[in-house]
Symmetry: D3
Subunit: 187 residues, 6 copies
């Protein structure tokens, strides 16, 4: 049972800029998340993926870090993406300082109990996830009336879009979560 259906690239075999960038993440986590090993044989794609990720997930205004992860876990749950649910479930546990929320969000994002703002964020994200052709003015209006700003609506939509891609890369590669992710943030 390999970690990916395709060839993996180890940290030392990445171009120097990516080695530094992924190395910093690895140092912080204590391991190299498998997604980087799986995308590493295509440095230009990995670089663009990291740039897109950082532009959306490290933004300081609008949604909180925990809310950004909420979008990721909800849409990855709806897409049945094991790597993203396990890896970002761990990050959500840490960001939200809640050891149980992520499992509930991932298993049933449609009905998980959330406060009004959280529900509006997840509903907006879900509306773009599985049948995006039905997404329209009504969904945006509901988000606005729950108090989301235009900028926050953009964030929810764009994170949903990025992880629509990310989920599919994980499905494409049959990517396995690193064992460490399962236990992070549980206690």
């Amino acid at each position: 049972m390999a970690d990916s259906r395709f060839a993996l690239t180890e940290l030392d075999d990445l171009p120097v800029d990516l080695r530094e960038r992924v190395g910093a993440i690895a140092e912080k986590s204590g391991f190299v998340p498998n997604i980087f090993r799986a995308l590493g044989h295509r440095p230009a794609e990995l670089r663009a993926f990291l740039d897109y990720h950082d532009a959306l997930m490290d933004r300081s205004d609008g949604l909180s870090k925990a809310e950004r992860e909420l979008v990721v876990v909800a849409t990855s749950g709806a897409n049945h993406c094991t790597y993203c649910v396990v890896a970002h479930g761990a990050i959500l546990r840490i960001r939200a300082r809640d050891p149980q929320l992520a499992d509930r969000v991932a298993t049933n994002p449609w009905q998980v109990e959330l406060d009004e703002r959280g529900r509006a964020i997840v509903d907006l994200a879900l509306a773009l996830t599985r049948e995006p052709e039905l997404f329209g003015e009504a969904e945006v209006a509901r988000a606005r009336s729950a108090g989301l700003t235009e900028d926050e609506i953009w964030d929810v939509g764009s994170i949903t879009a990025l992880f629509a891609a990310s989920n599919r890369l994980a499905h494409l590669t049959a990517l396995r979560p690193n064992p460490e992710f399962y236990q992070l943030g549980r206690s």
Copy 2:
């Protein structure tokens, strides 16, 4: 009827690197494709999007340029993405030198008549598009037995993933295709 549900950014208001990059496309096409105006208010996201796009769509080995567009039009058709179908339909007409293929692919990608290699490419892409959780070893095996290399399988999967994101950005923004796209490559 605006071109996007959110604020648009005109060429002159983009950061200089993006102004040059998008400007070059505009010069070649004769117009600024609306996707760049729609993403322009988030330069870091637009830059990452362009980088990811170029890494996958301008690659010289493996799939031909026309085959890459075939993936885009088939999956955007399955996702009912008007902007992507109209814009990339135009590019497919030009790349494939076929004024009719794009409309047939976009309308019914599941049954459009293609040669064996084209069918294998489109089947692989469709398997990741709407129910990616069902994608597995069987789909990859079928692609291999139609002669696709590992590198080509990766390309099909990654382009499908990128346009899963791109389609959703267009749904999020209710993005309208530029009028010029409808007619390009038809004669």
Copy 3:
């Protein structure tokens, strides 16, 4: 790549009444639409099909000619019917004097921008198209409150029904659109 999966009947081999009737259409269009060649080996069915079509599409009161084609293109798009989308897309472009509307309607009928009456017509048609068992009093009430008369509601429903049949005949026969349709009404 044949025009139909089954035997085709040329104009000269049709019974005299159908030869005249289809001949008149061919004279006006400059070509014999493939649907008539595909159904021609069953003259009684072709005759009934033409009668039903004319009873609904050539009616002078209620819906305009363009609105009738709007129903056809929206439901054929939802059914992914290549022949009907390409052929009736051309007619819609001509009837609505709009070179872009048809592609937008066919690609995403659920969210294409339309005025209130157009939206009510398309919503009613879509409600009968893919999950007709859910069609009920609520859908009819919405159409009425958008100002559609009983007669217009009937027209929308019956045209939707006829093209539910027509789409399936095109799927059955793998019917290819005549090349002329792709370009009609685009300039």
Copy 4:
């Protein structure tokens, strides 16, 4: 609880040709099937509907009468069409001289036990019913290898198409089955 959501037309108010034609059916059955009362306010449509129906259902070669009704009941069951299931269920009971078959076919056409030819007929019909965009060469090849001729395949496909329309007319009108149908052919 009216028999139709729209105005009904009684036998005496039909144009003379339809009065005779529907009258003959009424005489044979002992009642006027509600579909004719529901369509009667649009004589041209009723006439075309009857012509199409007779061309397909009264054909003497190829499929047997019972097999034609099998297609109707299977596809109407898949479409949850109450009028068609109850009315044509009665006819199937009579044509197949089997008081139980129709209820089994209508409730679960995908798995009802049938002989090989019956299964091939129903599978072909179902493939065109709910997701006709997936219908292709594979479905036709399976029908051929079960021994169906081109003419029989056409019949199955065309009857499926006609009742895709007919089911939707019944959904449009919330058509109620005549009470007599429920009991016909049960003993």
Copy 5:
């Protein structure tokens, strides 16, 4: 064509308590319903099934007997369960003293005409049947505002749950309805 895909157990071969219990039903009906013959080889399961059934279907307060059968027929229709539709359709005909209602409910539970209370019962049941992950506070609130008590809501939900199991046992065993059921309560 066997009555079940697995071994059947006849009345005389059941443990004594089940022989008495099923025997009493058989005496009343005039035949042994096939579900008991199909489950009989697992006495502990049959006993629990009967206990659960009786706890829910023979309760004297809250929903009427006919309303309990309405839930069974509606959800079994939505699940295309032939045994349950035919067997409980018979019971519904008898309990509701209506020879036609059951066929209408089973064929299209979503749109069958019912009074407000009946509609609320069936809507609640359907919301739990096919996509139970979407069931939430909104569905419960609608049931309450139609006048259902907490106890009645529980009954509808629990009967739906029990027959979600029962339908699947019938699908698992390809269970055939006893011939007697088809005709019961029709005159």
Copy 6:
């Protein structure tokens, strides 16, 4: 945020037989699983539920205990049932002595890597879960050819059926998992 949408019954308020039975479970686990508190106000239903559960889950021959839990977690994942996924995920971790398997099974049961027997068990269970009307001889034949006995096929089917009920009870009650379940068996 209550543990159930309906009234809860504490251990001390259960009838004596249930108090002993649930008490024994509570003693072993260290807490009263919420499902028993949620069903407790209907003792006859809780008793039947426990009997059915024990008849299937405590059986000594055929499927192993871990395999029985595999069926529960896979089908509860497909049904997005938070309580069942979290509670039985814990039991599967313990029974299979694997801290990661349950999360992978629950998130994507269709593609989780399993050995041939495990895959056959899960495929059989999934075939009965969401579209049970399509379950037929082909699914049973595949299970047989992977070496499952008739008795094991029955177990898989019956456990799937029981948890189709159980999942819906949890959806009905918006049942929350006890906090202890999240962490059990993870180290």
